[in-house]
Amino acid sequence: MSDKIKGSEALMLALQAEGVKTIFGYPGGSIMPVYDALYDYTRGENKAFDHILVRHEQGATHAAEGFARVSGEVGVAIVTSGPGATNTLTGVADAMIDSTPIVVIAGQVPISALGTDAFQEVDLVGVAQPISKWSYQIRHAEDIAWAVSRAFYIARSGRPGPVVLDFAKNAQTEMVEFKAEKVDFVRSYVPYPELKMNHVQEAADLINSAKKPLALVGQGVELGNAQNELIAFLEKADIPAGRTMLGLCALPSDHPLNVGMLGMHGNYAVNLKEQECDVLIAIGMRFSDRVTGCLKTYAKQAKVIHLDIDKSEMNKNVRVTVPVVGDCKESLPAITALIHKADHSEWRASFKPLDEKERVKVIEPAIHPTEGPLLMGEVVNAVAEATKGDAVLVTDVGQNQLFATRYFRYPKRRSLCTSGGLGTMGYGMPAAIGATFGAPDRTVCCFMGDGGFQMCIEELGTIMEQQAPVKMILMNNNYLGNVRQWQDMFWNRRKSFTRMMNPCYELIAQGYGIPYEAVTDRKNLAAAVDKMLATRGPYILECAIREDDDVLPMTPPGKSIEEMQLSRNSEIS
């Protein structure tokens, strides 16, 4: 008797060999052999996986992203060919730009039909190549062991990212003798570049000579699991550190050297100080335009040290004085060993008046308003206080994201899922579903606006079926608020298609059997939040938000970051 198995079953074994336990997916014609195999591997004695049936393939990829972000493992999505495959692409692009490790396995027509415009055929590898870390078509069953292992190795190693496997149907049904492979080397791919000690020395020399050093901390620190190394580095040289949006969990919010969030809607002091520091130490961040504002004027006075695992980030956007290419788990301690203990308390103290200005002018009015309709800032603050920093924050994109990331607290690692680079509306709800599976012991709070809530609203079906305990905070202002804010500030208040007629969310919640409460009055907010958190399972808390609530401070698009505004008009006072 032959010990050959079908390619579809070989995929099950290959996924098991990679330690996969959770799969987000949606079946269809070209992936049916795999779903037939999943039938056996998701129940009974053979049970190896939990399969979460999403309601749209975009949801599968975002859920895989949310899962990966909070667990540190590779998220997996399985979908069919054609539209199933193209529906995943937004999530693939999102994972690429935010360095999130996911593997998408899509069915494909049999190789005999490739190129014939067969039913549900699309050139997935062709369209995925520019937006994925690696894409590969599995044409025969004997490729499965190698391709799957290589996919996971590439997705999780070095700077993580999405990998797309296009799995031809004939390869799913062919018989193969399966032997798991363990790819841990790819000749053309150097995920962990060797640290150059001369650069480490130059970086240390610059830091030792700095009077006004400033660190910019990105997600690379969290991806490299180097939070402790970061703290040791910062504390030894007494360097204040701003975090990018994706790097918010790389340094605990309450650490005394944390000086807030970078970027267009980040904190006031750190934005201005980027234009004053003498040495800028960028660690695992990529100088996104949302951080730098106008590049021509960005930090021109500063010498720039850039630590990153991806050498193509060096000099990509900002000219670097000293590149330190390598894993920050290794490079940070190497630099720390060479720097002197320093005291920059005077420099750090110079942030305080600006912080105070922002606190008085922006933060207090946003989180502790006393009159008028509810504001997003106070809703986020109420949830942040009630969850005491234990919760995972998931956001959608827009004002909800900016308020949530500004006013949430991040004492714990891997506590944030947000679409930073791509800015994908509709990301929040499915990513939150993924987060509940990636961190089942943690509370998952997902802030969404009325726009983004409706962009992947179908995933309420997944939440219902799985009873995924997502605490959904719907901040409803009947507007596409972020675009509305730009129209108000920069487009002569011409509100072109940003006002939205909304459905009755209570009826929608009822339809899915999800507990719901609405808050319109701030005196009921705290109790409503407590009730949401005390309720087991999913929950929708709809907050009626002031229509013209603006996210501030703000650097106008294309402007220098020192032009950051504390109010809607341009006065900087």
Binding site: F185, R187, S188, C294, L295, K296, T297, N315, K316
Partner: protein
């Protein structure tokens, strides 16, 4: 091509500054990749995304078994050449990318011209031009003569323009540049040896 006279918009400087590296010149980018499907697409997509036109492109197997070599020329700033190199090398199946100016490489291009045969018979100037340019007639029949010229882009275009001014050229084909480096180091070999060592220590 080096005599390209099309007016070019200066490319936006990546770092927003004017600190050197902003003058455009012709760069030859050599890329070595594994022999897997779809890599050419990935390499050319980097140029498209960075709004750099590819002037010539030649792809074939390299002297190393299983390794493909791409010879690409483009006009850009050195700063951009560095970015192109980095972004191409970032693709998983690309082994190495390097950029060179013309003084760092031996380069050659080949071309074929199809010349109307009666014109060759009637006009002795045609043969004189072919000889003067060091080109060869590789085939003659009653309809046409095939001329082959190998040299620099300038040599080839000079021949083409001379013959074309007589109105005798029916077809003209150029191979695109190929080159070998002048340096003493064989960087691809060094890389492969280094990687092989690393593989063994795994």
């Amino acid at each position: 091509m080096s005599n390209n006279t099309t007016s070019r918009q200066p490319l936006p400087s990546l770092t927003g500054g004017n600190e050197g590296g902003s003058a455009e010149s012709l760069y030859t980018i050599l890329v070595f990749s594994e022999n897997l499907a779809g890599i050419l697409n990935q390499v050319t997509a980097v140029f498209t995304r960075r709004q750099v036109n590819i002037e010539s492109l030649n792809v074939c197997a390299s002297s190393t078994p299983g390794v493909h070599k791409y010879t690409i020329t483009c006009y850009c700033t050195e700063e951009m050449a560095k970015v192109l190199k980095a972004q191409i090398e970032k693709r998983i199946d690309v082994l190495q990318a390097r950029y060179y100016t013309d003084d760092e490489i031996f380069l050659q291009e080949t071309s074929l011209l199809k010349i109307s045969a009666p014109a060759v018979m009637e006009n002795p100037e045609v043969c004189r031009i072919v000889r003067r340019h060091g080109a060869r007639i590789v085939e003659v029949n009653p309809t046409y003569a095939a001329v082959e010229k190998t040299g620099t882009t300038e040599d080839i275009l000079s021949l083409y323009e001379a013959l074309n001014s007589l109105g005798v050229v029916r077809q003209f084909a150029r191979s695109g540049r190929i080159c070998i480096t002048r340096g003493t180091r064989e960087e691809l070999d060094e890389y492969l040896v280094e990687r092989e060592k690393e593989k063994r220590t795994k």
